[in-house]
């Protein structure tokens, strides 16, 4: 195996391939590295302890595609933490795979549950973070809730760098709107949701956070009480791989793993397994092993890593925030429904996938 690697100096100029996750919360600590040290074949040495990694807020790595193309490094699944549609739509590339669901899928999963809960023919108002994911999320919400019979009053962009949403929230027409979608992620989401509650918007409208993560829930605390959303993974998902991971993680770090921790570990293993199947690190071979691969071992039920757009098709957990007094360490949501994969998603010729052109293997 060592030989194959050495033959491949073109793509690996050094004994380490670096995968980078950019986080905006802390530009100084910009990079988190997952190192695949291939001297020890499948040893996964998470340079910075991934369990400590909380993508405190907007964690977008749609940019990784470009690292990938230029560096010829395979970016796999969950490393792409962005949920934006474009990532595996118009921006898709051969070298990138995505495990997490995109905004289309989270809207598809949310629409039936939320309309079922709040009723038909309602009108909704949206605020969204003005960047790739936020735009994508609000578009998806509009599409699938309109399809479900609701109508949009307005959708307003909030610029990045905003931590005080009071001016935007004060514009929400509380008499007209029935539901408010806050398409903010991470810390932004925690701030906008808390501020909305503080403003008493929940007295007049129902609030939905389309995408949750744990740091957001932790920072928003009691504000998430009863608020619907989707989450990448949660330790409460009850199946063999999930429970196994939760247990192993707890044994090692003495706390309940977050969705991101699960993603990091699961994807590292996916890559390692693909390398083993391929018998080489040579990226085109590894990529072929990953494409259309069927698996059921990371706790989200049976999945397919689709060859046409490199998007995993999998179940999406719809969750609801717990009241503050029921929240415990690492437990912030109740799982309302684990929407199975055949109820969501789209064909290779529809939706974002229709715009995807993966490009060459080499």
């Amino acid at each position: 195996m060592r030989e194959t690697v050495d033959d491949d100096t073109e793509s690996f100029t050094d004994a380490r391939a670096e995968l980078q996750i950019h986080r905006n919360s802390d530009p100084v600590n910009l990079r988190l590295r997952l190192r695949y040290d291939y001297a020890g074949t499948r040893q996964t040495d998470s340079g910075a302890d991934t369990s400590d990694f909380d993508p405190a807020d907007r964690t977008t790595v749609s940019t990784e595609a470009d690292f990938v193309v230029n560096d010829r490094v395979v970016f796999i699944g969950g490393i792409g933490l962005t949920h934006a549609d474009d990532t595996n739509g118009s921006d898709c590339v051969r070298y990138s795979f995505r495990e997490v669901f995109n905004t289309t899928m989270s809207a598809q999963a949310l629409a039936p549950v939320v309309t079922d809960e709040y009723g038909d023919d309602l009108s909704f108002y949206q605020l969204y973070a003005d960047y790739n994911w936020g735009q994508s999320q609000q578009e998806s919400m509009n599409t699938y809730f309109t399809e479900a019979g609701w109508s949009q009053i307005d959708s307003v962009a909030t610029p990045l760098g905003t931590s005080d949403f009071s001016s935007f929230l004060s514009q929400v027409p509380r008499d007209e709107a029935d539901v408010l979608f806050l398409n903010h992620y991470g810390l932004d989401g925690a701030n906008s949701l808390s501020q909305a509650i503080d403003r008493g918007l929940n007295e007049d409208v129902e609030i939905v956070m389309p995408l949750y993560n744990r740091p957001m829930a932790q920072a928003a605390s009691g504000a998430i009480d009863g608020v619907f959303g989707t989450a990448a993974w949660d330790s409460q998902i009850d199946n063999e791989p999930s429970n196994q991971f939760t247990q192993a993680f707890q044994d090692e770090y003495d706390r309940i793993p977050s969705g991101v921790a699960q993603l990091a570990y699961a994807q590292t293993l996916q890559y390692a397994a693909a390398v083993e199947r391929a018998g080489t690190f040579y990226p085109p071979e590894v990529i072929r092993q990953l494409e259309d691969y069927e698996y059921d071992n990371i706790g989200m039920g049976p999945e397919t890593m689709r060859a046409c757009d490199h998007q995993a098709h999998r179940a999406v957990p719809v969750v609801r925030g717990l009241p503050e007094d029921e929240q415990e360490q690492g437990q912030f949501f109740e799982i309302v429904e684990l929407t199975p994969r055949d109820e969501i998603g789209y064909g290779c010729d529809e939706g974002p996938a229709a715009e995807c052109d993966l490009g060459p293997y080499e």
């Binding site: 530009p27 100084v28 590295r33 302890d49």
Partner: protein, 384 residues
């Protein structure tokens, strides 16, 4: 301090005395050492050996745990820190907005690569020209104030550019995702930067390193020449005593602006190389913490010396990228764990070392080395 009464000190005479003293301090051998050829030659050798020592040499590289890519990155940040230091170390102006030149050039280089030409040399030229023009404009405005106001004005301009790139200009810059469409072509149309150098890849690694290294040597030569020209003398005079420099008829403001432009241009060279290196421009390259990072590098390494900031850049990136990966700090050669989760402390350690340097060794680590070396030389001389 500048409280000396002008009535007693004749500035021109004093300036002469400094030169005189400097000359006397260096005997002919030392003067040869300090000569431009020696500096450039030594830099070239050091740059050539660096990636091998760092990433591939037996024993040394295993101890260092370095890798090729980091070697180029260290040189790139080294150029940035050296340029920053031309301002702080030689004119005493502390800018907290150098991210504007680094990041501005990085974006300019990135846009240039997609819109005009993907030739690495032209990309660097474009980024540098942009940074120089930007430095001219910002310097023109910011240099109206000194001290704390200068620091805050530069900070404000830097932040303004960050937020411009983040929001109003996101159509061009791609906002918070950073600029991703960078296209890097082949050097002189024939060398792919990602390819190893035939026959010399054990030493230098890739063409990219050769490219970055050559530009580093050029920048060192340029900076050395500037500092040893009349300009450099004036810069130092301004740092020592601005009023006195003004008194002998120097247009201090113009020299400061020149220093600012040279400094910003070097930051621009580095920023353009950063774009080529990563084929990507992160938005954070404009954020004020980037300015803060280069401040730390320069001060850590040693302001007021040419190589100190490069050393500082290396140290900073090393700690950030290698030390931060150490999970357990153990007693050397044993398994005794001193500190678990050691890597998480890297930023704190840098902060503490930074504070210690300011309090204890204002000339930085390079200055400390020189003091120690001088001490040893003196000891040796004493024994003889």
């Amino acid at each position: 301090m500048s409280d000396e009464p002008t009535e007693t000190a004749d500035a021109a005479e004093d300036g002469g005395a400094v030169v005189e003293r400097t000359r006397r301090r260096f005997p002919s051998w030392s003067r040869a050492v300090e000569s431009e050829w020696f500096v450039v030659g030594a830099t070239t050798v050091a740059v050539a050996l660096f990636p091998w020592l760092f990433a591939r040499a037996p024993v040394v590289s295993d101890l260092l745990n370095g890798y090729q890519d980091l070697a180029s990155l260290i040189l790139i940040w080294g150029i940035f820190a050296m340029g920053f230091n031309l301002l702080l170390g030689y004119t005493g102006l502390l800018s907290f907005g150098h991210a504007a030149f680094w990041g501005g050039a990085a974006y300019a280089a990135g846009l240039f690569s997609t819109q005009v030409s993907s030739s690495p040399l032209l990309i660097v030229a474009a980024g540098t020209v942009f940074a120089a023009l930007l430095a001219w404009v910002l310097g023109f405005v910011a240099l109206r104030r000194g001290g704390i106001y200068f620091a805050i004005l530069t900070l404000a301009f830097g932040q303004m550019m960050y937020y411009m790139a983040l929001s109003p200009l996101s159509g061009i810059t791609n906002g918070e995702n950073g600029y991703t469409d960078v296209e890097v072509g082949q050097l002189f149309g024939s060398f792919h930067l990602r390819y190893p150098v035939p026959g010399l890849d054990w030493l230098l690694g890739t063409w990219q390193y050769v490219f970055v290294g050559a530009i580093t040597v050029l920048c060192v030569a340029l900076a050395y020449r500037v500092l040893n020209s009349p300009y450099g003398m004036v810069f130092r005079a301004i740092r020592e005593n601005e009023q006195r420099a003004e008194f002998v008829g120097l247009n201090v403001w113009r020299y400061k602006l020149m220093a600012f432009i040279i400094s910003g241009s070097l930051a621009g060279v580095a920023g353009s190389l950063f774009t080529i290196h990563g084929s990507y421009v992160p938005l954070e390259s404009l954020y004020w913490t980037t300015s803060g990072e280069v401040v730390i590098m320069a001060v850590l390494g040693g302001v007021g010396s040419l190589f100190g900031p490069i050393l500082g850049a290396g140290l900073y990136l090393y700690v950030e990228n290698i030390t931060s990966g150490i999970r357990e700090l153990t007693v050397p050669l044993t398994d005794v764990v001193l500190l678990d989760g050691f890597g998480a402390y890297w930023h704190l350690i840098l902060g503490l070392v930074f504070v210690a340097v300011i309090v204890l060794f204002p000339r930085g680590i390079w200055g400390l080395f020189r003091d120690v070396a001088a001490g040893i030389r003196r000891l040796g001389g004493g024994r003889r």
